[in-house]
Symmetry: D2
């Protein structure tokens, strides 16, 4: 699989007021992202509430994204099959392969934390071995998994035993580790940056692609940021990164990850709220939120229907 | 449901060398615990590797324990139905009810951490409401879930909205919070202590029962400890608690939770090793471990076949 | 030095509205504690804001407590000489000796954290060796120092190289470690419990004395608790421990450590506010606080002038 | 004070085998840094073991650096006056001013952690107000102080009440917060980057200067890195940053901060070992270390006498 360049969005799970997955929302969602020049989707991840969905729901979501994808073929579909039971991960991996997913991603188990890089690599190897022809990414997000193994250590253990490992979705602020992974084995691994708020600091280290939740609704902002960086216009790149930060700071102000869906509503792609145990903002808070978003004065940088 | 007095063991998942669940091990396991005066089993928990098993495996394990239990009726069966998807928890809860489980237990979701006691209570309420006639325990183990909500706060939120909540399995060192829960609403909740290494400090606060992994193989030790405490012989109670600590310290020395199964092998109830991502000791380490166990000089305090 | 039985208070630093130490407050403070049957003072500790005072101020405070103590002789004076520079600790230790302090206490350095028990013991040994005839306590409070060395490991390293080490003020919730220290070398170390809110759980392990901040203003509560425990009246002991918890919970509600001085004002021993960077409650909050204290209905359990 | 561009070294405290400060080492140290194009020194900081020195020692070290500096005038001298007692910080600040220090730096108090940005700003304001004509930097290093206040919040509180605040030495990986501080009040604050291992990711955000411990012995490496970045040669800049990481990884391998002095010995500026409680490497380890350093093949990038 070629390395991915550009923006990969991590889609939200579209949920109805009754907390049911709205599968029919997905085709329009695909076209919305495609129209805004997103090149891939990372489904059933953190933003996609994979852990809060049942295995059955995740399978149907996968089928929906790949069925649209197999027709339009404009975006790669990466499916997170991670969980704490490697057997259920294998089931999801096989299902992914059967349904034309382009690559799977595996997460560190997040209840029993692996004792070290070796155990983590062995856990991933079990799953990857079940789909030997499928490209595999590792999804590194220690703030949620509690697994603090360095990715350089992981690659050293995993490279010899997982032949289909192709890269890492790196959602952590350890740039020392990130650059080391970029340099590892002549840079053969595809390192996808996962912290939208400091994308610029990863671009300078050579990152070409990123997986992000804010790419769902502010793709133009990041495309312009990358363009400015590529042209060497750092003043503009910094200005845009600061705007991204101002936008992301509102997520924190209004309660965290659930606020991402408020942004989706703002760009008229309302996909409901987050499932429990995540806390959602109230209707009153949403009105405050909209005022704050408008005061950012960045309408032209949000994704458009 | 009456409050539970005495020892509740959290059984290990019996796994073969091929990493398959040995369901037929369970009837003998039941009799072993029963013979050593254990009064209940807490299945599919941390010790039972519930998170590392598939839903299908957990269901079969549940069926096996309840099928023996329905005949012998000497031990209560509590089934942990916790997970990160409340829908899958509900499926497990209903299956538990259909199979004669005495009570279910719910765990805090451990990927997205609840924002506070309110979200945690609401998450649990969704599951508890699906089995309104079933007694429900909350299983508090923040070191593994990363959910640091205090249990007093939880009870204040949960008591009004979960009518079938009966107690907490409390696996944490916050005695201030624990006593506060003991005192809450005239002590109506069944507070089961979950840290074997300091059971004595919980007994003095009024705890009558505990759920533990070391009760699997050292029940006589704890029964004598409780007896000494009840008689007011604190010197003896402390001596036995110190022995329990010495025994538990070997778990740490030999790598953690997986060493519990080494103790099971030691008492001739070999139930295999832990599943990935947990690290197991090597054969050589096991020999060292046995020497260390023998030097504790506490043969008469281990459970007997 | 004989092991200490009973309550050791950790006095507050009396500060004026101009943030100056009111040294003349100390003689009356001594008599207040003495009258309430406190048997010792642990000065310049966390409660005493030792780290926020200058070396010069701490020296004068020491002189004041020992000058009263040398006349009245009813309470032991233990002086915390801890800091991050062992040389300044040695200066304080020698000054303590010259001024008739009964014992010194040493804290883990809290900027560079010791790599392990060996480095911690060596750091303490440097200081203890400067006052070989002075009894030395180690003050374990990892929540503030960030030094998480277990005290059993520390004793194993320190016992052979610090001949004048006599015990530990143990301000942490690790009862497994605490009991192990109680058992170490036939129980020769004086283990002083430092968490007032769970004193009962330490008494059952054999603790005879404690060092606490709430002993400053609620000594009768704890004396009754100890008496009830000694008589085997656990129902009463639990009731009193729960009252202590209710009282301590108000510290948290009103902002933490600084609220201790609000309790002092409440018992008419007003010793001002905490120095920066600690946050104090506003006057309005104090009025709310007083209402809350009164609703605890425990007037007879507070210390009396 | 003009913003600082270039490398500011944080000098080590030169200590003899008897653990005494070798003040006479300092003039040669000054010339060594100067020769390697370092533009400033940040003394008595973490690398300089300020917290492990006595106030008297720190004062003499300050006097020595400024006495050389007042003659040679090639490097700025910034003195860390931080501590947990604001009064002792004030004493150091006044002493700094009297001795011609160019700027002082203040650290968050690291025993009692400030409740928030307001308390932190007020603590700093007390010290800064004592030397109103002296430029003041805040030194942000939460991994050691345990104070996790965001610097954007700090600047919002501090800007109105500390007129002589000029910038921040930022030793933390929060690039979102760092860029926000760069953008704050039209970029009027001097943001000095403090993590050598990811300097490149800060340069792209607009950082012009850095304070580092590895600038003591590898200044040419970083000067070349900055030059490559300024020319737009990112491939070369990344290669050099990776070399810096490889060099810094050896610090971790050989025990942490103390290994910095092993590098100093390697470049023939032996300034002894670290003081307790820091752990030093053994002689045997040093030999291993030298082999590892040589295998980095970067002799030309180390500082030269």
């Amino acid at each position: 699989m070629k390395k991915i360049e550009g923006l990969i969005a991590a889609p939200f799970a579209p949920l109805s007021a009754k907390d049911e997955v709205m599968y029919d929302f997905i085709p329009g969602y695909y076209e919305f992202l495609e129209k805004n020049k997103v090149v891939g989707v990372f489904i059933n991840g953190s933003t996609g509430e994979g852990v809060s969905l049942s295995q059955a729901e995740k399978r149907k979501i996968t089928e929906k994204w790949t069925s649209v994808g197999s027709v339009r073929k404009t975006m790669k579909v990466i499916n997170l099959v991670g969980g704490t039971s490697y057997q259920e991960c294998i089931e999801s991996a096989i299902h992914s392969q059967e349904n034309g997913v382009d690559a799977i991603a595996i997460l560190a188990p997040y209840y029993f934390k692996p004792a070290g890089a070796k155990q983590l690599a062995e856990f991933c190897a079990k799953i990857a071995a079940a789909v030997p022809d499928m490209p595999v990414y590792f999804y590194h997000i220690p703030v949620l998994t509690g697994c603090n193994v360095s990715m350089l250590d992981f690659l050293q253990e995993a490279s010899p035993i997982i032949p289909n490992l192709v890269g890492i979705k790196y959602t952590h602020e350890d740039f020392m580790d990130f650059l080391s992974c970029m340099s590892f084995e002549n840079g053969r691994f595809d390192m996808l940056w996962g912290r939208d708020e400091n994308l610029l600091s990863a671009l300078v280290l050579g990152a070409k692609g990123g997986v992000g939740s804010t790419f769902n609704y502010a793709a133009p902002l990041y495309l312009q940021l990358i363009e400015a960086f590529d042209k060497g216009d750092l003043v503009e790149a910094r200005r845009l990164q600061q705007l991204s930060i101002d936008m992301i700071r509102l997520l924190g102000k209004y309660g965290g990850i659930a606020s991402g869906k408020a942004y989706m509503r703002y760009v008229e792609m309302n996909c409901g709220e987050f499932r429990l145990p995540v806390k959602n903002m109230t209707g009153e808070m949403y009105n405050e939120f909209v005022k704050d978003v408008k005061s950012l004065d960045m309408e032209h940088l949000f994704s458009k229907k």
